[in-house]
Symmetry: C2
Subunit: 648 residues, 2 copies
Amino acid sequence: MQFHLDGFKPGDPLIEEASGQAKTSARTDAVPEQVDVLIVGCGPAGLTLAAQLSSFAGINTRIVEQKDGPLQLGQADGIACRTMEMFEAFDFSERVLKEACWINEVTFWKPDENQSENIVRHGRVRDVEDGLSEFPHVVLNQARVHDFYLDVMRNSPRRLEPDYSRRLLDLTIEPSDTVDYPVTVRLQRIDPQHKGQVELVRARYVVGCDGAHSAVRNSIGRQIVGDSANQAWGVMDVLAVTDFPDIRLKAVIQSASEGNALIIPREGGYLARIYVELDKLKENERVTNRSITLDYVITAAQRILHPYSLEVKEVPWWSVYEIGQRICDKYDDVPEQETGSRLPRVFIAGDACHTHSPKAGQGMNFSMQDTFNLGWKLASVLRKQCVPELLHTYSAERQRVAQELIDFDREFARMFSDRPLQAADRAWEITEGVDPEEFQQYFVKHGRFTAGMGTHYRRSIICGESSHQHLAEGYPIGMRFHSAPVIRLADAMSMQLGHAGKADGRWRLYAFCDAEDPMSESCGIRMLCEFLAQARNSPVRKFTPGGQDIDAVFDVRAIFQQGHQDLALEKLPEFLLPRKGRYRLRDYEKVFCPDPTTGQDIFDLRGINRAEGCIVLVRPDQYVAHVLPLNACRSLSEFFDGFMLPQS
Amino acid sequence: MQFHLDGFKPGDPLIEEASGQAKTSARTDAVPEQVDVLIVGCGPAGLTLAAQLSSFAGINTRIVEQKDGPLQLGQADGIACRTMEMFEAFDFSERVLKEACWINEVTFWKPDENQSENIVRHGRVRDVEDGLSEFPHVVLNQARVHDFYLDVMRNSPRRLEPDYSRRLLDLTIEPSDTVDYPVTVRLQRIDPQHKGQVELVRARYVVGCDGAHSAVRNSIGRQIVGDSANQAWGVMDVLAVTDFPDIRLKAVIQSASEGNALIIPREGGYLARIYVELDKLKENERVTNRSITLDYVITAAQRILHPYSLEVKEVPWWSVYEIGQRICDKYDDVPEQETGSRLPRVFIAGDACHTHSPKAGQGMNFSMQDTFNLGWKLASVLRKQCVPELLHTYSAERQRVAQELIDFDREFARMFSDRPLQAADRAWEITEGVDPEEFQQYFVKHGRFTAGMGTHYRRSIICGESSHQHLAEGYPIGMRFHSAPVIRLADAMSMQLGHAGKADGRWRLYAFCDAEDPMSESCGIRMLCEFLAQARNSPVRKFTPGGQDIDAVFDVRAIFQQGHQDLALEKLPEFLLPRKGRYRLRDYEKVFCPDPTTGQDIFDLRGINRAEGCIVLVRPDQYVAHVLPLNACRSLSEFFDGFMLPQS
């Protein structure tokens, strides 16, 4: 964490200085008549976006919600490794790590071959493959994730708080792009004091994060379509006493004839979530019409767990659902055929665009990644850093990866509802069902997907072509920047390189050094620094507004191959020790060296070409935008010319 | 973290349920007329004690402070590894780790042999030897440590807040032990609204954490005595621009003729603290009489750092001081000769009892350890768990280790003020001064002391005799329990065993398994569990109040030698899966296995006898109280009989 740059400030460094607006204007309980961005819905997608936008003092963001206050008890709970990486960028990963339940191992249970009414453990694997992320897969009540985002918003320059008890009535978009605030929204207040009052809000952009029944989605005429597997499941959070030994591990259970179950341990050491397979539904039958009771779900769980007992003491939350996958074909208000001529003004995200089965644990995670993708784009357009056409990439990128997720999820969910094949079946040549071993293998094989690492954006104005991918095999363009251990040169700090990247809307340019002596004038890193600092077509010079710190738009970090005790800080290019802020103090946190204690160093781990080095460009949402040779100054310029606006 | 035991509770689990008292009685701005413990002074010692006591709903604690609010800018900054371990027990270590500056390496600078007006680096070492603690040595403004403690107090059942703007006028102690509240304190309010008002408070116990000029110390007639080295030093926190390359490392600098300096990097990436040797003082001369200016200190620093430049931009805090060590001979109100016949009622802690030079970074750390030692003792006497004679051990333990610290500190400070011996000196057979290499060696050799691990309590009613020490060589009786990596059996969680121990006033009994099959009826751990659960002289049965959870007083944890996948949870003794709380839920966090990924496992790392296993008893303040064979049931009983009170 860096602070005190512009002079010593007492107190919590996470509480940023309030913007002029936040200082002077008293907080009223009305939504202002004009806003830059109006977010509809305080779920994970809405709050991720609000937290991201609140960090920009110059952007007027508001977030409205139907409920009358913060969520106390949510249904989502799984937090994928990828999401933890994003939480780190929002500076609250350590709070989640502390409070959540870590999912370390998964066990697999099947019918006992000798006594098929009993279940027996047949497999045990790590939940996440080693090295996939520096973060674990954890489980925590969604309400607490909301709380952490609300803290980020509260501590931000805008001191953003949600406006509760508002229902969206309707939304209209002015056809012309010449209007500053083209979206008009009518909000109805639904709290007893203001019941029936209607607020009219004009916004530059509106983002619908208002769930599966999204009013924003309906208002732009989009539909969510999909299918259902006609299979009912129950889910319950329980405080229970059991002799089932894996109640604190994730356990996948296939019983011979009572159906399947999934146990997920929960935070706090006592709570567990149990997913229970219930009845097959008829074609077009809705599970809600079955009037399934909690007792029914508990009894089904008890039958599946036989011979183990399950004595349920308290059920803070339970539900029944049918498995289904639904998706919207486009995530903004611009029809496909008009993308060349019209700019998007209204977006949808999260459950408003895609719903899937809960057991892959993707709903909340994928929703947050939607708006993490959108947030920096909106901010950079509003701040006039980038061309507004950039906003087309949101739907293009996110809709496609959601489609891939849904295809995966359908197969995953199907296996969860299949009966287990047993030895007896094989003897009788019965093949309908799933082999428990195969199910386990499928589970392991698709671990990257469930960990949130399956996302791979295609080539676009913000994802370069892959002709230099061989310089950094471990950083596929379009995939998330995979952190690795390094040592910071100036203070010998062992740390994760990826944690240098915060959710601050900046681009990261990681320069991996080549094999030349870093002190020689001709070494790649020195030449690159010279270009970035001096050249007229340097993106740093061209796109950084005058008067701002040198790293305000591009955060350049160098990784050398030498050990940190073998490199002389005082001989590095000045550009890597940039002077910043009111006092022009040096920033000592731009230069890293390999961590020798970890066996393989970052060059090995990420397949960096040691002879040539390379540049890895990382977007503000942590995805790799490009891999280029150290000396590819022209390609570097051209890439950013494609979507950035020159600053004066 | 464990929560939801008595039913699901939404919200932040660190915010404990308010006690009946905190719920019903409105907070007034007056100190009540009767309290259990009155703490005087909101420094590190006072706040550690207040945070510890606030966790007990039944104890009425108040803390008063002369200042009118929380500290904004403190002078202390070094946080030793040992202190971090304690912060973990108070559940805020991760906040400190995130915000603080980590001290990773130390460099040593001496005069250039060829050009003695210049300094050159001659050595570089790890600041803390590997494996000494799972925590690093960090640096953070004392005011932030206060903030973290204030949060703990605020979230505690008592919702404790300091009473500011109070000055202690005087204190009297009733001679008889028959009075419930024998200490009478007069507090003068000094805020403008209440100026001159006097509050009369009767307390069972009073603890003076009121600094070097302690009024509490004076009121019990104790004196702090010591000597001074007649050497002036300056210290300043700076935001500065320099080409000195080690400004983000801890740097010990010996110049040829301009004196010595010590640089400590500070939190936030820009701030640094510089200690600068100034003038020799005359016998009995006070540094305050010299009228030393900030410019004088800066200029001295600049001369020492030659040939490097130092351009100071802002100085949030600076001071001058003379080196000296002072200590009080006893830390309570009972004269040495009356310890057999009288019980202590008033204690002093922190700077009120001992002051030393700041460069070893011990002031704040040692002060907090004082009251961490006292806190559980006071609580267990007030809760009638232990005999009041236990309170004698506070002064006995803490005064002695402070004396050892002061002896170390005197030598350490002397070396810091010595001139460096150079090659030329040796040629001229000059021996006055310190060899820079020797200084570095001394520094490394005493790293355990500066890390806070030098404390070793002698045998007493709460520190057993060492006849079984060979069963656990790595857990010396009287020294702090040294954590090590383990895997928790039930959820395969990699964690630190020591972090199971929180600042909750409980004793920990770590049972390390012997070589027998843990499933056999005769294995040591099974026999021990049977004894603890069933026997009439089991300390667990004897000293745990009826109606409380089985682990309310003794938190028993078992560490097996088998891998976590090789041990069947369902076959463990019931005592290790205890049922607790309103629903009698199982606690799954009592059993651990070695962590195979760390090379050496906990049995190797801590020298546990694998054939015999052992019991390691750990006090509520994290110090090892005893090491016993697994089957030493009688010794175990007798040890606790020595100071605990049987419960009904």
